[in-house]
Symmetry: C2
Subunit: 126 residues, 2 copies
């Protein structure tokens, strides 16, 4: 492991390890329920804006554009805390959601359970 | 949106949308604390083994091999629940960890807070 990698793991300098696509992964949880709400991606601009404005911003891979989550729907994600992982290629956003996080209208995008027999619907907030 | 995409979002058939690298993203939380422990990736075999054995398996991108988390250290992740997201390209594993989830020895890989001034250490279990 290079010194650079060690610094990235142990240091207190923000040094995100963006992928070839310029993105890191972001996982969002609800500060009130602990539920994982969604997974998305951030480029440097989205991360900067999220830190600066305390409103979650992502990079939409499908639209290839900056995505202020809830800009249209009003379902903003108000940021309570942001963590970064050991190798700085993923962030954990702890948020207070202003509405459903999923475009389907579900509270969380993770509304189905994986079982050996297939998927099952999960009750909201379960 | 194609019918296939609609089925993938609303249906109860497991149909993971693996990326060009054959992987989906997996986020692991601790069933007891709600903490996000780690983010990793699964190929079809890792997902199948996780569902079948109730022990988390991943695909190590660095080693390019199947990775039974904790096989060497004993820090297995016992699976309590598995969820899949709307477009089936990410899973949420709710686990009972047998030890620290991070290779650094930290409980969670997300042991630093991102602030406008840089990173801060986070107290364990905070």
């Amino acid at each position: 492991m290079s010194d650079h990698s060690i610094d990235r793991e142990t240091g207190l300098t923000l040094d995100p390890r963006y992928g070839p696509d310029g993105l890191i992964t972001a996982v969002v949880t609800d500060v009130a329920t602990g539920q994982v709400l969604m997974l998305a991606h951030m480029n440097a601009q989205a991360l900067d804006l999220t830190v600066a404005t305390r409103i979650a911003h992502f990079w939409s891979r499908s639209r290839q554009s900056l995505w202020k989550k809830g800009e249209t729907s009003g379902h903003l994600l108000h940021v309570e805390d942001i963590r970064i992982d050991c190798d700085q290629d993923a962030v954990w956003v702890i948020a207070r959601p202003a509405g459903p996080a999923c475009h389907t209208g579900e509270t969380s995008c993770f509304y189905r359970r994986v079982t050996a027999e297939g998927l099952e619907s999960v009750a909201p907030d379960a």
